[in-house]
């Protein structure tokens, strides 16, 4: 079966990735570079998406509250919990799978088909470790910050939309945001983020690393990276939710 072939090869690759890196100074420099290219570079898109998510959740919740007995502060609470539970981790994860995943797969895939990976191996360098580990560490480190930022931006977007549209007053919204806050939801969200960061970087690196052929195949690898890391994110979203939220 194809699935088992890929699972086996992926596991083997991860074995090569998680070994002791060569020179520490070079390794740290690589990590910093990846934090910049995978994390800081994604800040813009994460902010834009989180803002509009917050706006839409607030407007939709307000629209759905027709019963005058339902307090309006629930709009703030709804936006807060939706952002924390699902949108900041999963939706941002899916967006990053598209942005970061395709760039990782095409970068590593290009290195493969132009023999740059062979060049590393001939020098006696563990290419999987040298190329992939810094990406995984960088994403696992920086993505939780992106998630936290997106939660705040989303809640802010909701406040702005609620107040400007007159759906909810500023005091009511802010009261709702603070009402019945469950800190574990944030932990849950961050745990999901860590898994998703690992999935995006490792699956996309895998697709690039085993790419063969030329530019056309690099393009295909990059598409596969996005598709498979998105599917894995959706799958792990279910698994982690089941494990963490149901008692």
């Amino acid at each position: 079966m194809k699935l088992f072939f890929h699972l086996g090869r992926y596991t083997k690759l991860m074995g090569k990735v998680f070994s002791r890196p060569g020179k520490a100074s070079i390794f740290f420099k690589q990590i910093l570079k990846e934090i910049d290219s995978l994390g800081i570079n994604s800040l813009g898109i994460v902010i834009i998406i989180a803002f509009f998510m917050g706006v839409v959740i607030t407007l939709q919740t307000a629209y759905n509250i027709e019963n005058p007995f339902i307090p309006l502060y629930l709009i703030g609470l709804g936006t807060r919990d939706s952002m924390i539970l699902e949108f900041s981790s999963t939706i941002c994860g899916l967006i990053l799978a598209g942005k970061v995943g395709s760039s990782i797969a095409s970068e590593i895939g290009t290195m493969r088909v132009t023999e740059q990976i062979d060049a590393l191996e001939v020098m006696g360098i563990n290419s999987a470790n040298h190329l992939i580990l810094p990406k995984i560490i960088a994403a696992v480190f920086i993505n939780p910050f992106l998630t936290i930022i997106s939660i705040f931006i989303g809640i802010f977007g909701g406040w702005l939309a609620g107040v400007l549209s007159g759906a909810v007053s500023s005091e009511n919204y802010i009261y709702g945001v603070q009402y019945a806050f469950e800190p574990f939801y944030v932990t849950y969200s961050l745990i999901k983020t860590l898994f998703f960061a690992f999935i995006i970087t490792s699956v996309s690196s895998y697709e690039g690393f085993y790419c063969t052929g030329g530019a056309l195949e690099v393009g295909k690898a990059s598409t596969k990276a996005v598709v498979y890391s998105s599917l894995m994110i959706l799958l792990f979203n279910v698994i982690l939710t089941q494990l963490l939220l149901t008692h």
């Binding site: 070079i26 290009t110 132009t114 023999e115 740059q116 062979d118 060049a119 191996e121 001939v122």
Partner: protein, 252 residues
């Protein structure tokens, strides 16, 4: 000296790309591997450096059996390798000087300025100056080959592997690159292997020539012997062009 003993290589599809090859590549000489496109030259070169594993036989670097070594043992031998890939395989995220400094960064204990000096020395050795800060996409094909050679010699290799170092280059640049490889080989007493399908290279630098035909070693000799061979397949290969036919005719 690199000794290749009875190596065979086949991929998953079952086709034998290399079939029972025996060769001794000599130190201080440019050993040329020639053959048609698809005959197995690249696979041979990549098998020598361990990018492909052999199915049978062994490869020895000055009496060290490379084939039976594990990754860590090979790592030490590999630091004596320099390799020039067909497309150059320069790291495109790094500038020219950073490419040449890369192996030094990874494996030497020199200070930063010593590494810089060494990299500049290598670039000067291949006649490439004032291009240090350009990226690989900003330089010509011939320059890329020069950078690749400079990177390959940065750590003073004992073994130099070049896969079609002058493919895609004009005749004048080709000869310059060929001669550069030969000079470096003799100057530093390197065991050099050059893959080529270019008869000009054979005439220019062929200290030892090995002809590969359909994955087998078909002929072995030097650049003077090659024109007098009566090996049928080799003759077809050598005299495929009008130019070589004319040379043969003139020699009588």
């Amino acid at each position: 000296m690199i000794e290749v003993k009875n190596i065979s290589k086949q991929f998953e599809d079952g086709y034998k790309v290399l079939d029972d090859i025996n060769i001794v590549f000599e130190t201080g000489k440019t050993n040329l591997v020639i053959g048609q496109s698809g005959s197995g030259k690249t696979v041979l070169l990549k098998t020598l450096v361990g990018l492909h594993e052999v199915n049978e036989g062994s490869i020895n670097f000055d009496d060290r059996n490379f084939t039976s070594m594990n990754f860590t043992e090979r790592k030490l031998v590999r630091q004596e390798f320099g390799m020039v890939f067909q497309g150059g395989a320069l790291f495109d995220s790094l500038s020219v000087i950073q490419n040449v400094m890369f192996p030094l960064q990874m494996f030497s204990h020199l200070t930063h300025s010593e590494k810089l000096d060494r990299a500049n020395f290598c670039l000067k050795r291949v006649d490439l100056i004032n291009k240090n800060h350009l990226s690989p996409s900003e330089i010509s094909g011939g320059m890329k080959k020069r950078v690749a050679i400079a990177r390959a010699i940065a750590l003073n290799p004992k073994y130099l592997f070049c896969d079609e170092p002058n493919s895609g280059l004009d005749p004048i640049t080709s000869i310059l690159i060929d001669n550069l490889i030969k000079e470096i080989t003799e100057e530093y007493q390197i065991t050099t292997i050059v893959n080529t399908h270019d008869m000009n290279s054979v005439m220019e630098i062929g200290d030892k020539v090995i002809y590969i035909y359909k994955g087998r070693k078909w002929w072995e000799g030097n650049k003077t012997q090659i024109f007098d061979t009566n090996n049928k397949e080799l003759n077809e290969f050598i005299f495929a062009s009008e130019l070589t036919k004319m040379i043969k005719h003139k020699r009588g």
